[in-house]
Each structure stands twice: as structure tokens, then as C-alpha cells.
């Protein structure tokens, strides 16, 4: 069986974990933001980012370090409802400004680590899911989906207010930060594993340009 690939468009969600929201909240009303976000802050992971299970992430074009973005992607089924979910590694070039769209940070080749397969099920099954992030075998982060700002059903409803998710589309619920606001990072030579009970693990070897 071929490893899973998204059939549709993959969307990501920014600032959807309470820890990062709280760290940002004092700055949200300052320039250039001027106000806290009202709508979900979303972005697109384009098809060139899809990195199927078993493929390495090659850091190139001047990128030497990447943020690890452990997330759960909700996969839309033929009836337009969530049919399953997948662990994903939503890699990004570390960036501290959330003002402009993150195309150069998030849409590079290979920047979405995919699992072998998705897990069928309903959103309710994953409300208390814990996702472990390991770098070279060492646990560097535990992501708890109870810490979402917009719980998954609410996020789906808010997104669906203006864009209809199509069969095959994937909506990632967000990535959490560490206590200091950064995300765990990886560089060439690292092996990164994202795992959770009941899900196919996303394992990526990070390589550098020779």
C-alpha cells in the first residue's frame, strides 16, 4: 500500500494553543497587529510541502534549522464531515512575526511530514489526545489537545463559516509552543518522531544539502 497523501488542500491554524496565545496576548494590541485576532488565523500548506512517510526532509536554499510542528490534521470525508485524522509534522522556518502570510516559512518543499496512514474516527475521539515529540529518541514536547483555544468542533464551524472544506481537505488544529514561546527545532542529522496512541507515527530524518 502506498503511504497516505492528502487528496485536497491542507490548511493550518496559528495561535490555537492557550500557552502561545497567553504569551502573545500582551503584544496583540500593539503595532502592527493593533488587535487580537477575531477569526481563526489560517494558512495553506501547498502540495509541494507533502513529504510522504519514508521520505527525508532536505534542508536547502539557505535553511539550516526548522521548527517542529506536531499537529493533528482533521481529514474531510466525502460527506463534508471529518472522516479521520492524521498526525502531521507541520515544519516551518522559525519566524517571530505573524503579521504577513508565512509563504516563505511554511510552503517549502517537503515541509509537511505525513504518516503512513490516517486513523478513521470522529473529532470527539481525540479531544484529550496527547502527542509526543521526540528528537533523536529524547522527548522534547508533549502536545495536549485539551489546550486548544478553539476546540476542534468550534474550529471547524468557524472555518466553515466562510470556506467549505472539500472532501479530501485537511484542517490542522494548530501547533503548540514550549514555555518560552519557541518550538522545538531540528537540524540536519536529527531524527524526529511524532506519535500518539492510535495513530500512525510520523518519523522524519532531517538531511542537509551536500
Amino acid at each position: 500500500m502506498n503511504p497516505w497523501m492528502p487528496r485536497g488542500t491542507v490548511y493550518g491554524t496559528l495561535l490555537n494553543f492557550r500557552r502561545e496565545w497567553d504569551l502573545w496576548s500582551a503584544r496583540m494590541t500593539q503595532d502592527p497587529h493593533k488587535a487580537a485576532p477575531k477569526a481563526s488565523v489560517l494558512y495553506v500548506k501547498t502540495a509541494n510541502t507533502f513529504c510522504p512517510a519514508g521520505q527525508d526532509l532536505l534542508l536547502q536554499d539557505g535553511v539550516s534549522e526548522v521548527d517542529i510542528g506536531a499537529s493533528l490534521g482533521l481529514v474531510i470525508g466525502d460527506d463534508g464531515q471529518v472522516a479521520g485524522a492524521a498526525l502531521l509534522n507541520d515544519w516551518s522556518v522559525p519566524h517571530t512575526s505573524y503579521y504577513r502570510p508565512p509563504v516563505k516559512f511554511r510552503c517549502r518543499d517537503g515541509f509537511l511530514g505525513l504518516p503512513e496512514q490516517i486513523t478513521p474516527g470522529k473529532v470527539q475521539n481525540w479531544a484529550t489526545l496527547q502527542i509526543a515529540v521526540r528528537r533523536n529518541g529524547e522527548l522534547v514536547q508533549t502536545v495536549d489537545l485539551q489546550d486548544l483555544m478553539r476546540a476542534m468542533l468550534r474550529l471547524l464551524a468557524d472555518v466553515g463559516e466562510f470556506m467549505t472544506l472539500q472532501p479530501g481537505d485537511v484542517l490542522m488544529v494548530g501547533t503548540d509552543c514550549l514555555t518560552d514561546g519557541t518550538r522545538p527545532r531540528a537540524k540536519a542529522g536529527d531524527r524526529v518522531e511524532i506519535s500518539a496512541s492510535g495513530f500512525s507515527t510520523v518519523t522524519t530524518h532531517v538531511k542537509g544539502q551536500a
Binding site: M5, Y11, P32, A39, V41, N48, Y99, V103, D109, F162
Partner: protein, 254 residues
Amino acid sequence: MKHARIAWSGAIQQAVEADGQLLITQGPHKGRRVGFDEVVWLPPLSPVPQARTVIALGLNYADHAKELAFKAPEEPLAFMKGEASLIGHKALTKRPADVQYMHYECELAVVIGRTARHVKKADAYEYIAGYTVANDYAIRDYLENWYRPNLRVKNRDTCTPIGPWLVDAADVPNPMALKLQTTVNGKVTQSGSTADMIFDVPTLIEYFSSFMTLNPGDLILTGTPDGIVDCQPGDVIVTEIEGIGALTNTIVSA
């Protein structure tokens, strides 16, 4: 050649423009001519095996950047859209009831023809399949300064009409000198030239392909010039680019 993708006689058909009609080029109706008003116009894009990358540019005309009170950007201001926001020629676009300012954006849309990675500006035209017209509507009420322009402004259902034609690149000798014009209910409200882009098409292809792979069928919507106005339900908006086509759209209330 001007290519269209249409629904007619219970199926999707490939067609080309021929003497003011659509000439079906494939399948059981090959050779049949049908009128522009007899068909449903779909986005003039062949299906692609994975999600189509739809890149859009903000502030890519000096006058529009000024109009929106920004200084011209030093590198392209790009955002991504989902393919589901695309609709065809002569379609309906929804305006929410509670908004004050929804405007069109007439844009030259570039369709990629070959896999592009690390392409030099001088070679960029070899990677283009053709051109079409896009109307990248925005609802400014929903603008927020987080990954701005945010998806609620720019990735709405029905808010990206595209078409009517995909015009072969070979038939557009200089895409950087085309007149653009928008009319609202027949009155000209926007007028400009692709010559005034800050980052021209070859520069954009070099820029994006420097960090990402562009695949055949991917789109670059290259931004809009000065002259945006609010559109109300019932308004008929025609975004037109010289030699590429005139894309008609009607606003309806949501």
C-alpha cells in the same frame, strides 16, 4: 488558442473559441459548436493530481499599494489560496449581509506549464502554459493584521472567479504590456496595465521557484492596480485583460 472548460450536455467538455462560439475538441461531441450562453463555464484549468497551488500577490502595483496606504514592498507579498475558492465565468459570488466594503481585483493569472524549481528570470517564460483572468475579491471588513491578508478576507467560497479562457502563452507575446479594466454595471471603475507591476511575471517565477516547486497547473495571481470600489448585490462585474478575456461575475446576497 483560447481554451475553455465547460459543462454541456450532461458532461464536462474541452472547447476552444472559434468565431464567437465554443468548438468542442474532445469526446463524443467533438466538432460541435455551442453558444457562449448555452454552457456552464468552469475554471479553464485541467484537473491536477494533488492540491493545486494558488499563489496570489498583494500590493504588486505601485498605484494600488499607494491607494491602500502602504509603501511598495521590497519582496513580493504573497499569500496562498485553496482551489475550492475558484469559480468560473458568469458565476455568482456571495456578499455577506453585514459587510461595508467588498471589492473586486482584476488580475492577470499565470498558469504554470512545467515543473519549475530554481528557475532563472531569463528562462521563466518557458515554464508558463498560458494566461487567464482572475477576480480576487476581498472583503475588507474582515481584514486582520495576522498573516495579513488573512483567509477570511481572501479565501472565501465563490470569491475567486477565473476565466473564461486559458490563452496559450505562445499567443501572448508580451504579457507585461496588457491593458486591464474592470467595469461595474457597464461603468469603467478600474483601468491599468500589467506594465506597472512591481514584480513582473518572470521575477515572480524566479522568486517562488527559489524556495518551492511549482507544478503544472499551479496558478500565480499577479495582483491588481488602482481603482477598487465596493460591489453590491445585483452588480455585474466584468474584469477584462487585453487579449486574454473578459470575465463576468454577478454579486448576490449571502
